[in-house]
């Protein structure tokens, strides 16, 4: 995709929005120009902080999910016995929409960041676990044996085979689940917090009835999702050039 094409698509979206705003002509749909102005103004008045809090929650849960799910996936993928034991469990829990656990996790972990981080972690964890497991299982025993014959022990196998083999799976998992993660973050931030973009959007939309600010929040949340998506893209280009 070319940068020019992306800018062009953005322009079209803004035009459609502007046209809709003229047609509707109500405060609940302000024009993109007004929202852009409010967005810049609100950045200095707390929006930036809400953005950073949300970013921190996503980043922390992503790092936590990779740190736990990638090694677990590698172990399952390389040990048919372990996999036989765990796969029914994963099979049953993987398709559950993790967002239904929001009230439950809030009850258990209460207010604060840990509940929000846990929920996003759950989504990413299963996605990464399953993809890394499958990619590790797809590594041919011949490949492992031939690298072992070069003198590689456990540590070198990890460094030269398992780690590079699971990187694309981790990135694919992130690409697939980053959107869901941000969506669930929004839901999670509706409860028991006064920080984060979800809270900010809901507060301005339902309590303060400050619609331009609400739209600024939506823009910020979209930028968060887009930024994460672009980061995964960028990492993939740098780390997985052979694809």
């Amino acid at each position: 995709m070319k940068r020019r094409d992306l800018l062009f698509a953005l322009l079209i979206l803004a035009l459609v929005w502007q046209a809709a705003a003229w047609l509707v002509a109500k405060p609940i749909l302000p024009s993109p120009g007004l929202v852009a102005l409010v967005f810049v103004r609100e950045l200095g008045k707390g929006l930036a902080e809400h953005f950073l809090v949300s970013l921190w929650r996503v980043a922390a849960s992503t790092i936590l999910a990779i740190a736990l799910a990638a090694p677990a996936g590698l172990m399952l993928g390389q040990s048919p016995r372990l996999n036989r034991f765990f796969s029914p469990l994963i099979y049953l829990t993987y398709p559950i929409p993790k967002v239904v656990f929001v009230p439950l996790v809030l009850l258990f972990l209460g207010i604060g960041d840990s509940a929000k981080i846990t929920i996003i972690f759950l989504i990413l964890f299963f996605q990464i676990l399953v993809l890394v497991r499958d990619s590790a299982a797809a590594l041919r025993p011949e490949l492992i044996q031939s690298v072992r014959s070069l003198g590689a022990g456990r540590r070198a196998l990890f460094r030269f085979v398992y780690l590079p083999a699971s990187l694309p799976a981790i990135l694919t998992a992130l690409r697939q689940s980053v959107g869901t993660a941000v969506a669930v973050l929004y839901v999670a931030e509706l409860y028991a917090t006064t920080k984060g973009l979800g809270y900010y959007i809901y507060l301005n939309g339902s309590t303060l009835l400050n619609y331009p600010a609400m739209y600024a929040g939506i823009i910020a949340m979209s930028l968060l999702g887009l930024g994460l998506y672009f980061s995964v893209d960028w990492l993939e280009k740098r780390l997985v050039p052979y694809k």
Binding site: R140, E142, L143, Q145, S146, V147, R148, S149, L150, G151, A152, G153, R155, A156, R159, F160, V161, P164, A165, P168, V240, Y242
Partner: protein, 253 residues
Amino acid sequence: MIQLQDLTFSYGQNLPVFEHFNWQAQRGEAWAVLGPSGCGKSTLLYLLAGLFLPSGGKVLVDGIPIERPRPQSGLIIQDYGLLPWATVHQNASLGLRVRNFYGPDGKHTPQDFIPEQDVLPWLKRLGLESVADKYPGQISGGQRQRTAIARTLALKPDLLLMDEPFSSLDAPTREGLQALTLELQQEQALTLVLVTHAIEEAALLGKKILLLSQPPNIHANVIDNAEVGNPEYRHSARYMEVCHDLRARMEIP
């Protein structure tokens, strides 16, 4: 150089593949191991490589029992031996990178190993310079096998183990690599053990041929094939004779 003493090996509770099997090979010899599918020829190679351990008896290389891959032995397999995410150059230097990773510990890396990264001479020698930045998926089967050879020879092995190395290649590529293998074996004074199911290949590359049959293998059946190495050997009457003899011994009509 290689001694199998009273070797017994079986997969789990199955019938042993080798039972009290004895065999030896001298330094610098070129051996072909021939036999039908399931006779244990790849098993033998993995035992020599230290990737499998005997159930009984000993595998000795240079008088030392093999309990793990030996740094001075190189193994080349039929397919899938290269890292798909690494370029030809990175794949060829993998062995050296593993050695640099551990340092000369005597276990993964020979104690007299001097750190180096340079595989370029090998890439040149094997005609891989122009594809050095390509990935295994982008090059031909013959080039992939050359890459595997470069990777192994860069480690300066004294024992080269090859498991059906050319069986997935087309005939001209196979003949080219067979000639190259013989040339490198003589040039580098390598002890070669090449496993194959192809009678012609065994007769062409093995100065001595170890013939295995359906398990359990108890006696080493060795055929001398002293004229190997002569470039015209492929077209000689003697070669045809050896092939014929091998075919008869394998009971192929």
